[in-house]
């Protein structure tokens, strides 16, 4: 059975098909690991097995003697700056004097076969003098510095109102979230080809070509134009590709050998070779009045940034500013600190600082509701942010903020039916392992709401560039926005068709650094930013087209429209195909789209630092095996503030996919560290949800209130599903078990052994002395 390929010409608001969908389902889409070049070599990076050690020497002579080995490089071979970094270059291309985390690159090999490269890597002798790793983030700030720049990566205070304000009801708690990995399916990979001009062409999966280029050029000591990046197929990102991975090393190997070099990380290397979600330790104290109105939130948040800075600054800012959640809080004393440790570097992952604090503030809201004897939904509704309210940063919400709506609609969704006695084992906690005993299974329902800032902020003048070229009735869109799977390519076509009245749209081949920057595929920003750029470029072309038709036909421009590929006038006098309307002219417009400016936060964390916010609510239903501590998530219901639905199927995909990662963080996903050593860098031991673990998602409501300032009224939708789903699942487990469960992920032993040992003590943190001035 087979189906002939058809073309879909759907516009905004409809579920247009992905333009890259056909090659993807046929296995013909070229991911970065699928590339091939005649005579190419295989690169391999040698990584530190130690979380902390001095390097006394590196002996590569044995490796170089292996037949088939073409190059072995160390830090001495880096011609330019020996470090890189998104915000500040503190991360070595190759460590030279000390290694600060397990997995830090120390050398790289190029050889004729991947097995030869692996053997050569094993033959490199690095003389390490291991030192005691600094692995406790709570102690890190005051510990002996492990880097010349010190152990505090960033400190963000947010203070508003009266620090001494007090409520009649006070609850507090200490919460932790573990280190989550993006676990994108496509491993880091690329192909570097040396060029005749002494430069290099790199085909790579990344999130932002131009920021890679800047960092690479500095390390390679090449001018920007000689470091040319080309986007290769990206097998998911979720933040993992925001920092450089192999970019500098693979180019160095290609430049040294004069041969194309391909490198593909193994899954283990992927786990060791990209940043993770910051683990957090969070102390919270909430004050409310007797009527359940929040009076003050105090929070101290420690984020483990690992060995290098990466994006810790922005993650810390998000955590601090979002610390109270989507609630009105007149008084706040918040401090978030990202610290340097000998744990793996942490940086961007979907949710970016907002996930950790949501886990804490939503647990606090449930605790507060219990202390007040108030329904937790009612408590949330009483405090829900609405337009015109201020955040604790003093920023007034000028856009849409349907917090109460997402809460109400989500709660109103019908609960799934009770489990019948005939249930298959796969429908019980423990699944095919047949461990469940029905008498010992309890159901729980949990609820959480979250806030996520959208786009870059904090004064950064972010923009995206796009080009529209109309020729022979076909619009070609060129934009360096990285497609990581989210469906920007679909949307770009939809936008162009919308603006240009159903014109045929072609997307130029994947982005390169030869065109303007589109910024990063992160921070839920591409629909807004690059969608906005595509829209603006198309509008400019449309304007030129209609202007020329107007003058030629003597028809007022405002009476002209483009409908189904034809330029038509209201009075029907003009009705010509676009291809004729342009009269052979090529109309081309390139537009840089900027969002409204933002400000840096001041010393008290005050300022209009953000462009926009999105909100989502999640209700989780779980069954818990009380004795074994195994959890089955039955259903997640959600409502989300989306501004406007541009492609329903793709939107659902973002919600379901984000929720799956939230479920993972709630019950199974964690990088396990033992004195700085990663114990589970594999898909065997870093487990992510399978189809048997991920429940159906019930979308209770998509709140469509067009966001002012957003080019199409839409809000980024990728991150909010991740922000509060974890909190909702853990709340449901708390409801089923009656346990406090202050840590995510919840492990079986946290439930099963809760009664048998000295469990975690709530509210025992140093909140008072650390937070108060």
């Amino acid at each position: 059975m087979s189906t002939a390929l058809g073309t879909r010409r759907r516009r905004l608001g409809e579920s247009a098909a992905r333009p890259d969908g056909v090659p993807k389902v046929r296995g013909e889409f070229a991911f970065s690991s699928d590339l091939f070049s005649e005579g190419m070599l295989w690169g391999h990076i040698v990584r530190s097995p130690h979380p902390a050690a001095a390097i006394r020497g590196i002996d590569v002579s044995e490796a170089l003697r292996i037949p088939g080995v073409r190059a072995v490089l160390t830090s001495d071979d880096v011609p330019g700056r020996k470090t890189y970094g998104l915000d500040y270059p503190d991360q070595p291309v190759f460590a030279w004097d000390v290694v600060r985390y397990m997995g830090e690159p120390v050398a790289a090999v190029a050889a004729v076969h991947p097995e030869t490269a692996r053997r050569a890597a094993a033959a490199i002798i690095v003389d390490y003098a291991p030192t005691e790793p600094l692995t406790d983030p709570v102690a890190a700030a005051d510990a002996e510095p492990i880097h010349p720049l010190g152990n505090v990566l960033h400190r963000q205070r947010v203070r508003t109102g009266d620090p001494d304000a007090a409520g009649t009801v006070v609850v507090e708690g200490r919460y932790e979230t573990g280190m989550q990995d993006q676990a994108q399916m496509g491993p880091e990979s690329g192909l570097a080809i040396p060029a005749e001009d002494g430069g290099v062409d790199l085909y790579i999966a990344t999130q932002w070509l131009h920021i890679d280029q800047e960092q690479m050029a500095a390390c390679l000591a090449l001018p920007l134009e000689k470091v040319r990046l080309h986007l290769a197929g990206v097998g998911g990102s979720f933040g993992a590709r925001e920092d450089l991975s192999m970019q500098v090393q693979i180019c160095l190997l290609a430049l040294r050998t004069g041969r194309p070099v391909k490198m593909v990380y193994s899954r283990e290397e992927s786990f060791l070779g990209h940043v993770h979600r910051h683990p957090a330790v969070m102390w919270y104290r909430h004050h409310a009045d007797a009527g359940g109105r929040l009076v003050k939130v105090e929070a101290r948040i420690i984020l483990d940034g690992g060995a290098y800075l990466s994006t810790s600054t922005a993650v810390t800012m998000n955590a601090a500013c979002m610390a109270p959640g989507p609630y009105r809080v007149p008084n706040a004393v918040v401090e978030a600190v990202a610290v340097r440790t000998n744990n793996p570097p942490c940086g961007a992952m979907r949710g970016f600082g907002a996930v950790q604090v949501c886990f804490a503030y939503e647990a606090q809201m449930d605790k507060l509701a219990a202390a007040l004897g108030l329904d937790p939904v009612e408590l949330r509704l009483r405090n829900a942010l609405k337009p015109g309210d201020s955040l604790i940063t003093g920023q007034v919400l000028r856009g849409t903020a349907p917090v109460a709506e997402v809460i109400r609609t989500c709660v109103a969704a019908p609960l799934p039916a009770g489990v019948p006695m005939t249930t298959a084992e796969l429908e019980l906690p423990g699944g095919a392992g047949r461990t469940a005993d029905r008498d010992r299974v309890r159901r729980g329902v949990g609820f959480a709401v979250g806030i996520k800032n959208l786009l870059y902020g904090g004064g950064f003048d972010d923009y995206s560039s796009a080009r529209c070229r109309l020729e022979d009735g076909v619009a070609t869109i060129t934009c360096a926005a990285v497609e990581v799977g989210q469906g920007f390519v679909t949307l770009a076509q939809q936008i162009a068709r919308d603006v240009l009245g159903g014109v045929d749209v072609v997307l130029a081949p994947p982005g390169t650094t030869d065109i303007g920057s589109a910024g990063s595929t992160s921070a839920s920003r591409q629909t807004w930013m690059s969608g906005g750029a595509v829209q603006a470029a198309c509008l400019a072309v449309r304007d030129r087209l209609l202007k020329s038709v107007s003058s030629r036909h003597g028809v007022p421009q405002e009476t002209l429209d483009i409908v189904d590929g034809r330029v038509v006038s209201l009075d029907g006098q003009v009705d010509i195909p676009i291809s004729e309307a342009a009269r052979g002219d090529v109309l081309e417009e390139t537009v840089d789209f900027h969002h409204a400016p933002t400000a840096e936060l001041d010393v008290d964390g005050q300022g209009d630092a953000f462009v926009s916010f999105a909100f989502a609510a999640h209700r989780a239903v779980v069954d818990v095996d009380l004795d074994l501590g195994l959890v089955r998530v039955l259903e997640i219901a959600t409502s989300q503030d989306v501004g406007r639905v541009l492609n329903p199927v793709q939107l659902v995909g973002q919600l379901e996919g984000g929720i799956a990662q939230g479920v993972g963080l709630a019950v199974m996903e964690e990088i396990v560290l033992d004195h700085g050593r990663v114990r589970n860098p594999s898909f065997t031991d870093y487990v992510i949800p399978t189809a048997l673990d991920m429940p159906p998602v019930h979308i209770a409501a998509l709140i469509e209130e067009p966001e002012p300032g957003s080019p199409m009224g839409a809000k980024g939708a990728g991150e909010p599903p991740m922000v509060s789903s974890t909190a909702a699942v853990v709340a449901a487990i708390r409801a089923a078990t009656g346990l406090e469960l202050p840590r995510a992920p919840v492990r079986p032993q946290d439930i099963a052994l809760a009664g048998s040992g000295p469990g975690p003590v709530a509210g025992s943190g140093p909140i008072t002395q650390e937070v108060s001035p």
Binding site: A30, M185, F683, L692
Partner: protein
């Protein structure tokens, strides 16, 4: 190039998608996934874990769904191997499963897609009318990080319904 590869080099033939392919001067330890991707020009099967924990490299070997990364390539001599490239009828055609993945939004980044497509073909071949739980169990060896499986399950349902018609 062969002479520079460390280790034991061997020559053999594999039958993939109905065609005999020569594999020359290959390292003995190469897995089927590597040989398909790097020697036979069939990169549709993907490399996401190389330890049988993700299903991205799923192929049919003598009619059985297996992870090609777990097959020693040289031991697959004489076996009938079908990869994602061998599933659709022709150049411009999609199999019903492929079409359903496309129509239902089962594809995002697409890295897991070929493996899923092969697994779902295998499932519907042996069980044309699976329950949702049977579908979930049948694809439980295929990890997806983008979709949360919702649209993938919808695609399986759609393909299933197409076959019922």
């Amino acid at each position: 190039m062969g002479a520079d590869i460390v280790g034991e080099l061997i020559d053999y033939q594999l039958r993939v998608n109905g065609h005999e392919h020569d594999v020359a001067e290959a390292w003995l330890g190469e897995n089927l996934l590597y040989v398909l991707r790097e020697r036979l020009g069939l990169p549709g099967s993907k490399n996401a874990c190389e330890q049988g924990e993700c299903g991205s490299c799923s192929v049919l070997m003598d009619g059985k769904l297996v992870c090609s990364c777990m097959v020693l390539a040289a031991s697959a001599v004489g076996a009938d191997i079908v990869t994602v490239e061998g599933l659709s009828a022709g150049e411009n055609e999609l199999s019903d499963v492929q079409a359903a993945f496309l129509a239902e939004g089962g594809v995002q980044c697409g890295f897991c897609t070929p493996g899923f497509v092969v697994s779902v073909h295998d499932l519907l071949e042996h069980n044309p009318d699976p329950t949702e739980l049977e579908v979930r169990e049948a694809v439980s060896g295929n990890l997806c990080r983008c979709t949360g499986y919702g649209r993938i399950l919808a695609a399986v349902r759609a393909a299933q319904e197409t076959r019922q018609e």
